[in-house]
Symmetry: C2
């Protein structure tokens, strides 16, 4: 277990890094105290499966640190990632006993877990929790639908550029919107994971990344660290509406 997780295990909700973004964001002191007592932390190693599709699931929770992937696999091995769970995202489904998808830790992941039954009970009584969960679910639904456009209609190059744009923005967001030029970030996913996310093969991912590099749209140090000298140029490759894309 990581140092981070050990620190968390001792801390209360007050000092939680996702206190104001997770499902508990709108809770007042009293509800937070309830959640504080119900919660337990658990850390998963990279590559570890947190939930198997079809399993009975006895908990729900929030991602505190790390990245987890929701994915689906066909009999013959074809796999499609259907969601990326980042810190503050909610894991599990109140009202359903069985998991519809696999949940796999892409990085080291720490979850803040609640036993399912008591959480559902609290959900029924607390408007601050249920309204926040509804809001988060609607946001995820929008994100899933955006992704459907990418999967159904974009070219391989557009898919790669879109993913890089999203990752870059997510990172830039944390660094408080630095100048739009010279964005730098690390890829949190392997080529294979990117392929599963984008609905292409890993060879195609590799080729397209090489092509973007060859054309100077991105620069690479090692396999995982990316620098974008001109962000607008990368955005041009995504196929998205150039202005509308800014808001997303």
């Amino acid at each position: 277990m990581s140092v981070q997780a050990n620190l968390l295990a001792e801390s209360s909700c007050e000092s939680c890094p996702i206190r104001y973004r997770a499902v508990c964001a709108r809770c007042e002191e009293d509800e937070l105290a309830l959640l504080d007592q119900m919660k337990s932390y658990k850390t998963y190693a990279p590559g570890q499966t947190i939930v198997w599709a079809g399993d009975k699931v006895q908990f729900v929770g929030s991602v505190v640190t790390g990245v987890a992937a929701l994915s689906q696999t066909m009999e013959d091995g074809r796999r499609q990632m259907v969601g990326l769970l980042l810190p503050s995202d909610f894991v599990g489904r109140p009202g359903r006993d069985y998991a519809p998808f696999d949940v796999v830790a892409a990085n080291e992941v720490t979850l803040c877990k609640f036993a399912k039954a008591p959480f559902e009970e609290l959900l029924g009584r607390s408007a601050s929790i249920s309204s926040r969960l509804l809001e988060m679910t609607l946001d995820e639904l929008d994100a899933a639908r955006e992704w459907m456009l990418l999967l159904g209609r974009k070219t391989a190059r557009e898919k790669i550029a879109s993913l890089l744009t999203i990752l870059a923005r997510r990172d830039a967001h944390l660094r408080l919107a630095s100048a739009s030029s010279n964005v730098r970030f690390d890829l949190p996913l392997s080529r294979e994971a990117m392929a599963d996310y984008l609905g292409v093969t890993l060879e195609t991912v590799s080729r397209q990344i090489s092509a973007l590099k060859r054309e100077g749209i991105i620069e690479l140090e090692g396999k995982r660290h990316v620098t974008v000298p001109d962000f607008a140029r990368l955005m041009n490759e995504t196929g998205d509406d150039s202005d509308g894309g800014m808001l997303t």
Copy 2:
């Protein structure tokens, strides 16, 4: 305006065809009375756009009859359907002012509309409405994620077979699960709409339907009426796990 809509316009929630499936499903008498006063019906012609992406939307509501399509369009005209709204499905997004996607009537569609602000206010007070809406949203999210597998990983033939299977099951469901053999139903979508839904071209849709017909897996009367002599054979073409698929 259709006869159906006129009949509805006069009727109360009590006799509504979607009374026990829509967002109001769990309401008691008192809440239903409130909704009854707030509601108004409106009917849209086939092909008519109900909401434009980016528009400010002043209402939410439920599909009472007909089929509406949620879709997204790129600058160059590529279009992807991101959801199919069937009777009892919810339209609109509490908590957001602007529509993220187009909503287009595929058939003649009748909506049961509520002004957005009063509905949101009621949503905040009524656990029966908010819990039902959360449940419906979670179901839609699961459906969207299933669809991502289809868009990202299935072949054209599998996509067509999957769509036919879904439509057949939906219809069979209404007709109280008749014998699995000799399923018959009408396609509620044009070839172009199917193409937009499946992330292929309309020519590909046409070719694959012709192929399935040639092989005797489906039979056609006219362009829209389908008979499936052996449902298991159609399911074999979807690429889905044969047993797991039964539950979905």
